[in-house]
């Protein structure tokens, strides 16, 4: 049903970045992206020049959503792993938990087997991280001050003043 808002603190990002930076090295990958199922880019690392990561995030979510729909039609819950082979670069996508997608771009410096091996471990670690974030959000345990509580109507109006 309706998902809670995703709020990530600095310490969450530090852990997330540590996981994906390790993954990009261990998997000899070109780039790693963490995307949520609604199409938001959460984190990225690696050789990212020339990659429009905003578009990548949106299209990844669309791809996962479409194949999720296909999975239900054939009686599967979902297809958790996708692999797209290109002439030079390849794309490996894995679902992490309920709402995240781990995307690995790799070329002939790596292999599908190595990527799958490393993604399995990293996926578990990311799953634990996001589960912790979700639990904090649901129990209200996070003692953060959301930025919106101080927003005034004038702040919102000023955003749109010409």
């Amino acid at each position: 049903m309706h998902e809670s808002q995703l709020v990530m603190q600095q310490e969450d990002f530090d852990v997330l970045n540590a996981i994906i930076n390790k993954l990009v090295r261990d998997a000899n990958a070109r780039g790693i992206f963490v995307v949520d199922k609604a199409g938001q880019l959460i984190a990225e690392t690696g050789e990212l020049q020339g990659i429009d990561s905003t578009s990548l995030a949106s299209l990844t979510a669309g791809c996962i959503a479409a194949t999720g729909g296909l999975a239900k039609i054939v009686g599967e819950e979902e297809f958790p792993t996708h692999f797209h082979q290109g002439a030079r670069d390849n794309l490996h996508m894995t679902l992490v938990g309920d709402r995240m997608i781990l995307v690995v771009i790799f070329d002939d410096r790596s292999s599908l087997g190595l990527v799958r091996l490393r993604v399995k471990k990293a996926g578990n670690e990311l799953g634990k991280l996001f589960e912790g974030i979700r639990k904090r959000a649901e129990t209200g345990a996070q003692s953060l001050t959301l930025p919106f509580s101080e927003i005034t109507d004038d702040d919102i109006d000023n955003l749109f003043s010409d």
Binding site: Q9, A38, T54, G69
Partner: protein, 196 residues
Amino acid sequence: MSFINYSSREINCKIVYYGPGLCGKTTNLQHIYLKTNPKVKGKMISLATETERTLFFDFLPLALGEIRGFKTRFHLYTVPGQVFYDASRKLILKGVDGVVFVADSQVERMEANLESLDNLKINLKEQGLELDKVPYVIQYNKRDLPNAAPLVELQRLCNPYGVPEFGAKATTGEGVFQTLKAVAKLVLADLKKMGS
């Protein structure tokens, strides 16, 4: 479902343009893309058929500015309006923070508008959302056409909740940015309510 990134100090929200086929959802986004400063927009993606009917979605990322030190980014999506693309519409609505319903003002499309509105309610409900609780505005597009229904009639049938509504002619841009600003404001006001 907005995403707040305290590390990069960003707020990301998702707005979906909904409505019957050929009502002007894609035209809205195309106009926004055309008229927006390149510094604040990303690439527009359109997954469409050869005849330029939206097949899966259009996507346009916009950076609207800073609020309390947080960069606000809005991701605009359109859904395919043709009736048989319902499975795709459900997927695109996932994580929505605000909705723009684009109604086709033509008299002959009134039934299609109402069908699409019902469809929106059903698809939102599947996500645990109620249309009257979601930041939501209506745009009555194609106001310039000779067979455009009277505004009063459209309001009566399409806007029972009395949400903000705007007449528009998306092909020239009339009403497009007013609609976008209104829904973005509602989304931010909603976030403000959640924060307090």
